[in-house]
């Protein structure tokens, strides 16, 4: 199946693209996708992937914060981005 991965803010600069489509195994979990992405983009290896306030990387699935054990569906949009700083 295919998923779309989007990068924002500093990660967009770091990786050099705003989004890409990837062929991934059916039912892959977000945590597994993140490991694939670290292989694919070694720039990400120094970043802290976590699901708490210490994370350098936040992850959303279809526009909603997501936990690493969520399985993905075909056509899902996953976004990786740094801690937010609006306001």
């Amino acid at each position: 199946m295919r998923v779309k991965v989007r990068y924002f803010a500093r990660f967009r600069s770091l990786i050099g693209i705003g989004e890409e489509e990837l062929e991934v195994p059916d039912g892959i979990r977000i945590g597994e996708l993140l490991e694939m992405l670290k292989e694919r983009h070694p720039e990400l290896r120094n970043e802290v992937f976590a699901q708490d306030e210490d994370a350098d990387v936040n992850v959303s699935r279809n526009g909603r914060y997501a936990s690493f054990d969520e399985p993905l569906d075909d056509g899902d949009i996953v976004a990786l981005f740094p801690p937010v700083s609006g306001g």
Binding site: N58, P82, V84, G86, G87
Partner: protein, 142 residues
């Protein structure tokens, strides 16, 4: 729209009209602006980047949580993005209630939630170069 992400300057009167009702006796408004200083550096301008669809969805979730959590009448959350000069508006959060206490509490809560959750990122262009702001960290931008 009570949750909105926009490049345009805010029309505060329009925002107040949107959340007014005959039941609302107290309206609390937080308006954020670009300051001329940040951590000792002179700020020239801010560049906000947003994940637009998710930002609006997350603001709507905050609004719905706020309406459940506090005995208020209504809530509005607007955020700007793009290039903003010193003095320009950045964020507008309004809570309206029968009485002022709950409106103040809800507004304070919502501003905190927006800053913690809504996918918007600030790049500060200062006299010492540009910095991405990530939560409390400042990271020199390329």
């Amino acid at each position: 729209m009570k949750c909105r992400i926009t490049r345009d300057a805010f029309d505060i009167s329009e925002a107040v009209r949107l959340i007014s009702s005959p039941r609302a006796g107290g309206i609390v408004i937080f308006l954020g602006k670009v300051r001329n200083e940040s951590h000792g550096r002179k700020v020239l301008k801010l560049i906000y980047e947003a994940y637009e669809d998710m930002a609006v969805a997350e603001m709507e979730r905050i609004r719905e949580e706020g309406l459940r959590k506090f005995p208020i009448e209504d809530m509005l959350i607007w955020h700007r993005y793009g290039e903003l000069d010193v003095g320009e508006d950045t964020i507008l959060v309004i809570a309206s209630g029968k009485h002022r206490k709950e409106a103040f509490e809800a507004c304070i809560w919502a501003v905190d939630e927006v800053k913690r959750r809504v996918p918007v990122w600030k790049k500060e262009v200062t006299d010492e170069g540009a910095f991405w702001i990530e939560g409390g960290r400042h990271i020199r931008a390329g």
